[in-house]
Symmetry: C2
Subunit: 318 residues, 2 copies
């Protein structure tokens, strides 16, 4: 079986256009006339990216949300989407379309077209969605690879909620109210499509956190050719996460290595700190400085000011 890493490595020899960004980024950026278009495509597979008994409207919501998250992380305003639907059982499909309609409206991604396909009997289904966004004309589109020595590292929102929600769905015990909220974070992520475009002018590098904070910080460090240190105490946790799992070192490590956060991860020069906080506050969104960029390479994890070994599992590898 080909690994994702090997395949992407082989694809890199095909995707040589500069617009492909070496397949290192969340999205492609293509210049059309005076406009910079951002294009992203994500696929959800039954039994891999969603659970067969997840409510179908939430599967559709997630399909749109993960692509909206990619656009936001490139500072792009959402324009439109197309998707491919694998036909299934009638009531499931109807509920899926209800969720799709709500998500397309919520994330400002009007549905323009796509494809419908029939799967062989009993086959797990998959759904692909392509989202198109428009980046600001007069500034570069932040990549993963722009973090510079001296930058601060930031995240939006709270980390680990979706991962804990998935654990709850798999049987982990938690108080009813916290459990419900965490499961909703797993099933219906809500990346803010305005936050990325608003923060992009300040960011030297930006991406979304989809596979786990640690692995995604590692990717930013590698793409940027720098070291990024983060303090595990600084990782922002939600009240529901704390109620269900606490906030000790192990709980924080769990949060930082779970996937499906769909929060923004960005590096920015320290002089932009005040404007970053103001921008997020104006949109009623939380941002937290969790680390710093320095000379060297890779991710360095700190606990109470001391470097600690990285866990074996730093996030979700496909």
């Amino acid at each position: 079986m080909t690994t994702e890493f090997a395949l992407i490595d082989a694809l890199r020899r095909i995707a040589t256009s500069s617009a492909a960004r070496g397949l290192l980024d969340d999205a492609a950026v293509i210049q059309i006339g005076d406009e910079k278009l951002v294009l992203t495509l994500d696929t959800l597979v039954e039994g891999v990216h969603y659970l067969p008994d997840d409510p179908p409207d939430t599967v559709a919501w997630k399909l749109v949300a993960v692509n909206a998250s990619d656009l936001s992380a490139k500072g792009a305003e959402p324009l439109a989407c197309l998707y491919s639907h694998a036909l299934g059982e009638d009531s499931w499909d109807r509920a899926f379309l209800d969720g799709l309609a709500r998500a397309c409206t919520h994330f400002s991604l009007p549905l323009l077209g796509g494809d419908t396909v029939r799967m062989p009997e009993g086959a797990p289904r998959s759904f692909s969605l392509t989202a198109l966004g428009r980046a600001k004309r007069d500034q570069p589109v932040p990549s993963r690879g722009g973090a510079r020595v001296g930058d601060r590292l930031w995240v939006s929102g709270t980390i680990g909620d979706a991962g804990l929600g998935l654990a709850v769905l798999r049987g982990r015990k938690a108080k009813q109210s916290a459990a419900q909220w965490l499961v909703a974070r797993y099933r219906t992520p809500s990346p803010d499509t305005r936050l990325g475009p608003a923060l992009a002018p300040f960011a030297s590098a930006m991406m979304d956190i989809s596979d786990g904070l640690l692995i995604d910080v590692q990717r930013m460090a590698e793409a940027s050719g720098v070291a990024i240190g983060i303090g595990i105490e600084s990782v922002p946790l939600s009240p529901a996460f704390r109620a269900a799992a606490g906030d000790d070192f192990d709980a924080r490590l769990m949060a930082a290595t779970a996937g499906d956060d769909y929060c923004l991860l960005f590096a920015a020069p320290p002089e932009h700190t005040a404007r970053i906080r103001e921008t997020a506050a104006a949109l009623d969104r939380q941002v937290s400085a969790i680390g710093a960029v320095s000379d060297g390479g890779g991710l360095v994890l700190f606990h109470q000011g001391q470097p600690v070994p990285l866990p074996d599992h730093v996030g979700y590898r496909h």
Copy 2:
């Protein structure tokens, strides 16, 4: 099980943007600044759109070709593509990528990105590709719905070759040389990406033939609110098709109801006839006038000048 028809009907209530063209067209058309972008997304499913033992490089070729065909049918020049790869066995994936690289070059669709996903063990795989094209600035993008009374109906290339190639793969006997050529038409369709843009200025309606000539003419007639009559004798057949299946009424009906042609189907005022022929000749491509648009509704099939009943099976419905 939801039918494709029911699903598209439900999707139409979601895809209300004018750029979606009522989901009646092969592609979406979106205005970005001064540019008209054409977007299409097609999915190939193992065991449905390709055979499990089709050579993997031809599966990749077809994935790119079917999308290139949609762009050409909207008169759009190819710009770029993204695709989603379902990981499989190593040597299969490597061969697939070889075909993908060749097709992206051949169809001028540089690969910009996409997604890679792991499927559950043993699941049939599917591949989605989104292609982006650019339509001419100073003219409308032809839709399926523009055919006008008095127009002539045209097709490019020859009809039925791919369908007969599929029949050969399924055991139909044919001479070796014809069989090989027909199978290649099924496995590696070669829509001309220059022909659609060159013909678009003359066409009042244009689409590609993917599900069978008759069903696609029927779709154009319905979308345009006109009747379209075609003479079965005028349907262009290749020498290989004639050698393998003859050219009597039944053979022609088989050709006109088989899928996977990826030829252009277009309607144009009779005064453009000479320029249409010159344009195709300059690109070394064949075009054939096969019918006419008149008042009324739907497809009317003629044989030796007389209307004949439509067959039960007019093409491939998904």
